[in-house]
Symmetry: C2
Subunit: 639 residues, 2 copies
């Protein structure tokens, strides 16, 4: 490696658990503030003052200052009851402290308050937003000249947009076929077998199983076949988003006779709860979201996925999208996306079925930084392992990350492993042409997705949200400038959190809390550790869950100043069969009990890059173990 | 009035166009920062240091600091190319400076970075969020014990949620009727005629025209009629959000024979472009959003609305929702919501038709502060007029604002007239029970909307977004504490912006820019002025539009350091017939030309409370007039 050591730089990236870098932080905040103040002072000084010195001696002014000062004191005092996310003692949710760069940039830009809906009200930060989206896309390996991305409020919105776009692309061939018929023009489209055929004669099943790029090619082609306004009108007459689901559903019956079962979305059992919101809101329906079981490492089970795809093909149920997770919320598991990609290829060949492939990498997306050299080159697994020195990651892990480049869309939350303050989510799409399907303009004006320059910077035209903080873009941008998206920047931080999680995982060996026992989920793909605490006197599942619930209650914000903070989750069959059935066998708990009660699992999310310990760093792994044993002992006494 | 004069306090609420309050601002920022620093220092000091003084002398540390400092300088320099929203010279978009309270509170809370998805990660700011939602609801007059509200990323998300909830409530009776049939239980529901009848025997049209509170009563009642899990399962089998639109549409045919035309949403012609995104995403369809023309003041035309409702009743087209706007984006027009409410009552009586009534008050909602005395009492129109002294508002204006309390849902953006930094939108619903229809839990577990306390503070359970900044809640909260939601707080600010807009409107009289002429839209309901500039030599519409486009180009960020900033819009028939046809007559332009080209209108949004002028305040109204004349002259020469 060249350049300064990342573990030295790491000490400068955060304020620090004891605010060790307070002087630096204060200097940069003051500099940003005064810089802004002098911008105002020097803006048309001939205008003179609006607020005069004498105004600042009026009783009403004084009174307002007093009120502001006192109320702020009240707020600051109240905030002391917040949770110390900055501390190594907090291993609860996906929350840590933010980078200094992000916080200072957020503050600096907030003084200007740009609105990233369009560059007219954010000439600087709209550019920064498009830059950081391009940086994220480069990190995961999207083709820079074809992809597109933007920032948004968070993962739920980003995932919503991804599925909204997917729905638009999957149903587009129906509108294309009917529009081409109305216009009386032939329209060639590439089928799953690679052969071109006229779209007008194709069955509904075939139309709903065209590859996305073939569909978008045909979309483009139709615009060359007839006057643009005619094409727009013809597509509008048949597209789902224009005519609405009710008329669209009726149209399928009229046009194709057999309307097929309603489209489904396949998700792993570990998927975030917000996906249910998304399929409900989009009108796809909660029951049309099919859950695929996970394996013992909480990754989507590729065999189960294949069985589901086979079943869908047999029933002729269109699969709108398959969602794969890179970093599950509960376990930080990384689906074997390379195997999902392989299943998609096999389904196209053997089943005549394809789908939009989305990776929900809200948590794990930044981990791709681990795989990048400073020059952008993709590192080999052995290079990565030797750089970090704790036997991680595996070749399979790397294959999963490399496969992100094959997903049609990816969501990544800078406000998770990017260490950016809320709100900062991101959506990336592989083929920028697809965004036209959700554009607010008549969606068929710019089928290539290549808009005029001013449209390109009118981000609100292409996304769900309107007004949104340019400050968030500035925060992500400055943080990426200071901490690059490679093994020496974010990769270094993230590898350290994984090392910390692995150290905790190792420390939680069976007898670590004797006389209590522990049972662990497998070593995690990223930075989340899951385990349960047992005791010889606790033999039924109800009591075991009560023990673990009690431990959690003593190590959570609900307790009064707990020594450490962890979280817990409750896993249920059949989604977690792969992970839990082996544990039940060890526990001697019948599966029927589990089916009734679920299993309470303790969970630690390691966001703190210092948690793994080292010379002259507080050993919070041991601290947490002591706290766990104390909490377990107190709980057992109270049971 | 009692207490200190609001115009004195106003001088303390903002940093000021020349950063006159920089010393105050800096003091509060430093206090917030140091307060946080010492919180960290005092959190388990026995843990010792993680970053040591000697670490801070390592080359890698130094290098990282240098990089951070230099990159920040680059960002600060780049931000100088941002738009000076703080200046009285900016009268462009809905952007001004933010209150000091909001900016300081945002910064202070961002240091803690709470996540308002649930109180477990935001014990303080989740409470503040619910408090500010209750304050907004009290301001507009919702019943405090029945309503509910929350903050979100902005108006688009808030409006999305409102229509999502509306869709859920409007279609709920279908699920209730079919579930009651399946369960074999009678279920009484109150009809539009006030009489109770069993829901099972009712026609689809009747079911889709039940009043929302009657529907929610029946929802509650069904849960008392059978075991809860049976009710949940029965409703899940028939509810739109569970089974999805495709199966739902088929179900209507099976269950009712006549499925009726697809549901529509009625909106005024002035509605924000994001509504099209919303109906597309929700699957309602862009073509099922019916535009109702506006009158000469850009308010929804009540007669046209009535005609549309009559037509829908005749065709038996269900009306899911009527959207009314309080403060249109382009003109700040306030719909006569009292007349819309009257139309809803009449439609229930005469047409057997009803709907969800939503007020999009993203821009205008805070104007309700003008109508509140400090003790919360609603002021009379003459009291308000005498307090502000410029013949505003009218009795009709007040009636429109008072009618907000009758809307089923309201959206208000604190980041517009609340002067809060992005992102801060808000949704308020009149009947909290309705939120269960979009809850992510099985939506029928808590039909009353009265959740357990921990669910109440798990805001993410009830809304579209997940993670979101607690800092935004702190910002709104502190600003409301310092600047109350009454005539002496926000009411004072907003009345001043309206006074400024009225002063500009008056100054733009026909010959103000001689030899150029001006033609104005009527005096605005709030703070936006629209006008066109004419010239005797410019006789066709194409040239007239070019003249106004040219003026805009010279007074926008596209110009190099323009003296003033305004915006423009292009209005088209038939939506703007009411407002534009009288102007065309004055211009001598045939309507056919307008139909082809639209009319370019210049637009100034007055966010600056000092824009109205006064003693010892720069007169930017005259300044803008001079700039307009100079821009018009230069444009005419170049035409």
């Amino acid at each position: 490696m060249t350049g300064p050591a990342p573990d030295e730089a790491l000490r400068a990236w955060f304020l620090g658990p004891r605010a060790e870098n307070a002087d630096l932080f204060e200097r940069l905040i003051l500099e940003s503030l005064r810089d802004h103040v002098f911008w105002r002072r020097n803006h048309h000084p001939e205008d003179g003052f609006t607020i005069h010195e004498s105004d600042r001696r009026r009783p009403g002014y004084d009174d307002a200052i007093a009120r502001l000062t006192e109320e702020l004191q009240g707020l600051l005092a109240a905030l002391k009851r917040d949770v110390p996310f900055f501390s190594g003692r907090y291993q609860g949710h996906m929350l840590g402290e933010q980078t200094i760069a992000a916080q200072v940039a957020y503050f600096a830009a907030m003084l200007y308050n740009p609105n990233n809906v369009t560059e007219e009200v954010s000439p600087v930060t709209t550019r920064l937003e498009l830059e950081v989206a391009a940086q994220l896309a480069a990190m995961i390996g999207y083709p820079p000249d074809r992809c597109w991305g933007h920032l948004c409020g968070g993962g739920t919105i980003a995932n919503f947009e991804a599925l909204w776009i997917a729905r638009g692309v999957r149903y587009l061939p129906v509108a294309l076929a009917l529009a081409a018929r109305d216009l009386g023009v032939p329209l060639a489209v590439r089928g799953l077998d690679g052969r071109q055929a006229d779209i007008r004669g194709q069955s509904l099943w075939t139309l709903l199983n065209l590859q996305s790029d073939a569909t978008l090619d045909a979309y483009h082609l139709l615009h060359e076949s007839a006057p643009s306004s005619d094409v727009v009108a013809a597509l509008d007459a048949h597209s789902l988003s224009a005519i609405g689901y009710q008329d669209y559903t009726r149209r399928l019956v009229e046009a194709f006779g057999d309307p097929l079962p309603a489209g489904v979305v396949l998700v792993p059992a570990t998927v975030h709860y917000s996906w249910e919101k998304i399929v409900r809101a989009l009108g796809i329906g909660a029951q049309r979201m099919i859950t695929v079981p996970v394996d013992g490492s909480c990754r989507i089970d590729p065999d189960a996925l294949w069985r589901e795809l086979t079943r869908c093909a047999a029933e002729r149920t269109p699969v709108l999208a398959v969602v794969s997770v890179c970093g599950t919320t509960e376990e930080a598991a990384i689906d074997r996306l390379d195997l999902v990609v392989a299943a998609r290829e096999r389904a196209a060949r053997e089943l005549g079925l394809t789908f939009h492939l989305h990776s929900d990498a809200c948590l794990g997306g930044y981990a791709a930084a681990v795989t990048r050299a400073p020059d952008g080159r993709r590192l080999r697994a052995d290079e990565i392992r030797s750089a970090h020195g704790f036997g991680w990651p595996s070749q399979e892990w790397l294959a999963s990350i490399e496969a992100l480049a094959q997903a049609d869309s990816i969501t990544i939350d800078p406000h998770k492993l990017g260490y950016i303050p809320y709100p900062a989510g991101a959506l990336l799409i592989r083929d920028r042409r697809a965004r036209a399907l959700v554009s607010v303009d008549p969606p068929y004006l710019a089928p290539t997705g290549d808009a005029r320059p001013q449209d390109e910077r009118f981000i609100g035209r292409w996304i769900l949200e309107g007004s949104k903080p340019g400050a968030a873009a500035a925060a992500v941008w400055l943080s990426h400038r200071v901490i690059p998206l490679d093994e020496r920047g974010y990769g270094h931080i993230i590898a350290r959190t994984v090392r910390g999680a692995h150290r905790l995982h190792a420390a939680l060996e069976r007898n670590a809390l004797a006389p209590f026992g522990t049972l662990r989920f497998p070593r995690p793909d990223l930075n989340i550790v899951n385990w349960i605490v047992t005791h010889p006197s606790v033999t039924d599942l109800g009591s075991l869950n009560a023990l673990n619930d009690g431990i959690h209650a003593r190590l959570s914000p609900a307790a009064n100043d707990p020594a450490y903070y962890i979280t817990r989750t409750r896993v249920r069959p059949p989604a977690y069969d792969g992970a839990v059935v082996p544990l039940l066998a060890e526990l001697g708990v019948p599966e029927t009990e589990w089916q009734r009660e679920g299993l309470v699992v303790l969970r630690a999310v390691v966001m703190d890059p210092f948690f793994g310990g080292g010379p002259r760093i507080p050993d919070h792994v041991q601290g947490l173990l002591h706290a766990l044993k104390a909490a377990a002992t107190a709980t057992l006494e109270a049971l």
